[in-house]
Amino acid sequence: MAKYKTEGLHCWQKAKELTKKYYQDYKESPARGGLRWEGGAWSFDAIPQALEGEVHGLSEEPYGASIAHNPELQVRYQEAAEGKWGCARDLCSYMRAYWGSVALNEYAYGGPWPHADFIFQNQICCCHSKWLQVADEIDGGTTPYFCFDVGVGPYDKIGDRQIEYVVAQLYDGIAFIERVTGRRIVEEKLIQNVYNTYRSNCYWAKTCELNQAIPAPLDEKTMFSLYVLGTLEKSNRAVADFYEKELYPEVKDRVVNKIAAVADERCRVLGDSQPPWGFLRIYRYLEQYGIVSVANLYTFSLIGWMKVDSNGLLVPYPTLEEQGITIKDRDHALRLLVEGELKGKLMWAPFYGANYKNDLVTKIAKQWRCDAAIIHLNRGCEGTAQHQMQLKIALQKMGIPAMTFEGNMADEREFDEGRVLRLIELFVTETLGLKKVPKDRKGRG
């Protein structure tokens, strides 16, 4: 008999639809007189999305990930980037997939490569500023390009000077966007977008916090398809509503009614960095042992805003409502947006030192009650793979068994499934001493 009852997530379908619509809208925008812009999951979509009239963005990382889900496309795009363009094989694999898509003049969602009207990008890792710099070059080098810098320091060192630096760049960005599009950034829209951005990020964080419950209402594999909306267009009302009004209440309800993601939850593990997208079946394999992956700094804070409270605990970042703030004007909106991203996006903290990664992830391990860690040494992304070996050492020091396996989020040529399953089996059966859950287990979330 299964240990807990489990059922699928009702709002799952809605998430899928919103995602599909996003990529369709981008494709069709010009036909409807709309504009198109390229950027990243982190490039403050609240601003370009405040343009008057219809406008749609293409978010580079999730686009790369969606290519990764399709092995045929993935390999073809990687090889085009390496062959036709001639880039090194060890670069960010999302970026190579993206470049390949441009080089082959193919849009993964059908049709030729959809040229953007402008690029609104930000710099946090070595590749982000280069990503669209090169993509546009491959594409002919005619797209107006703007890139602003958010590498101003970790969440606990953010003061006026840091915020001022980014805000000043955003003003330039607004001027740039208005100049190259000939359209205005509408203040009311901007203010609304910032409200939405706060709701999306804070409510995703609250949802993640709910996963501290035993049994875990969500497993990581499910969370992957849920946070993606935030990486696409967190400033979108529909997205914010999804997180606040649909996902959060439903997961809360699962906790109350002890509805588990994995019926036989016996062992809670934490992950690190993106998974090898083409091989999510690894999680299915783990489930046979009653192992559920419940936490991952990446999965939480790629979009989820969190903070360390006075007790040193990791908690969701307060929404504007909770802070009792009403946005006065454009300047206020920009400052709040920057403050939220710089203080709330803990995912950025490890960029400034291994101590940050160790501190945050060991907090997660405690608060989310993890029994072990399975760390994907992600050869595809320097950003999320920061300090992973230091993390392994830190976790083992606090008595949490940890294993690593090498892979690549979006380049299956760097993932040896047989080998990795061997390692995981060894870890699970020997180090964790787990046995398979007798069959007859029910379906999963």
Binding site: G86, A88, C126, Y145, G151, V152, G173, F351, R379, Q386
Partner: protein, 380 residues
């Protein structure tokens, strides 16, 4: 002089230890990237020593950085773990690429060092905002150093620091001038050895040696055929055996763009009553590392035209693009840079570097490239 440079480069650790003995109240600071404002360290009577690799297989680094991090950063950490830098009073980094930051982060946790500092060097260096932000960072850094060494840093101190650095830059640039000659008065290996030494020695002492070198150069006789005039471009490069090999098979490196070469010292600090702003301006305006080479209004890079100008001024016949394995910033730029230079009529050859360079395998590539450049000899 070249010999002294080479000697101190090879014997970098004894040099620093020696220096400590002779500068009782001075501290030795190991730094990880050339965006570190050495001016302020000199102002505080510290000896900045750049942490560079030992060209040994970085076996010790494996448990701390898995092998997708660039060989150079792993090599640096490996040196630290081996205890070669046990004399350091402090380490610091100026925000740069993720690889070196990785090594710095692991060093902070794994290699006991009394003091460490992360200077948040901004990335959008072409903006006025970045200059303002950086001068603020420098003010904080200055304060931190003052507290650490227990001594105020006066404007006079800063002027001294700036002067030491500017003199070094001016002198080394003059030496580079002599590489423009038909038969360069010093080889690329020699020139870069001078720069490597400058990152390891007390600049004041180094400056004396360079000045001496400059006096000698005009009537120096180099008994060798210059052959093909090459430029070498890439991230860090202090691979002496490789450069010697290339210069032994019918070529001479006449100019470079490396952070262990011209990119390190090319630009001076302008005088400005606000010393920190002057320093900030210099580090924002300097020839950028690719990781900071983006502008806010165009995708074009600032470094490319600079490289082309150098290539023209030094009458370069071919460019060797060194791609340090896993070095994203440069790997992102190299395909574009290759097209850019070849589009301007300058042939390029890309080489992928690792910590230990298999000279044999590279020799055939370089020989073939040189043959390609002097094909007329084979064909007419």
């Amino acid at each position: 002089m070249i010999e002294e440079f080479k000697q101190w480069y090879d014997d970098r650790h004894s040099y620093a230890k020696e220096w400590k003995k002779n500068n009782r109240n001075g501290k030795v600071v190991g730094y990880f990237c050339t965006y570190v404002p050495e001016e302020i360290l000199y102002a505080a009577n510290c000896l900045p020593v750049r942490i560079i690799g030992g060209h040994e297989p970085p076996a010790r680094a494996t448990p701390h950085m898995f092998d997708m991090w660039c060989p150079f950063s792993r090599d640096c950490l490996s040196q630290g773990l081996a205890g070669y830098y046990d004399y350091l009073d402090g380490i610091m980094i100026a925000q740069c690429c993720l690889h070196v930051r990785q090594a710095f982060g692991a060093w902070q946790l794994q290699v006991p060092t009394p003091w460490s500092y992360y200077l948040c060097m901004p990335n959008a260096v072409t903006t006025s905002h970045a200059k303002k932000f950086l001068s603020g960072e420098l003010a904080e850094f200055k304060k931190a150093v003052e507290e650490w060494v227990g001594k105020k840093i006066t404007d006079a101190d800063l002027d001294r620091g700036i002067d030491i650095m500017n003199t070094s830059r001016r002198l080394m640039k003059k030496v580079y001038e002599f590489r423009k000659e038909d038969n360069p008065l010093l080889t690329g290996t020699e020139a870069m050895t001078m720069v490597w030494a400058s990152q390891l020695m007390d600049k004041r002492e180094h400056n004396v040696l360079v000045a001496e070198l400059l006096r000698g150069l005009p009537n120096r006789e180099l008994d060798r055929e210059p052959g093909i005039r090459l430029m070498i471009v890439g991230s860090e490069n202090d691979d002496r055996p490789f450069m010697e090999m290339v210069e032994s098979i019918g070529a001479t490196f006449v100019i470079d763009d490396h952070c262990t070469g011209s990119r390190y010292f090319w630009d001076e600090i302008a005088t400005n009553p606000d010393r920190l702003q002057a320093i900030a301006d210099r580090y924002c305006d300097r020839v950028p590392c690719p990781t900071k080479d983006f502008q806010q209004e165009t995708w074009e890079r600032k470094r490319f035209p600079h490289i082309l100008t150098l290539a023209k001024e030094y009458r370069v016949q071919g460019v060797i693009l060194v791609q340090q394995k896993f070095c994203d910033p440069h790997e992102c730029d190299i395909p574009s840079l290759k097209r850019y230079l070849e589009g301007n009529g300058i042939p390029c050859y890309v080489l992928e570097f690792e910590v230990t360079v298999p000279v044999g395998q590279f020799r055939i590539r370089i020989e073939a490239f040189i043959e390609q450049l002097r094909a007329d000899e084979l064909f007419d």
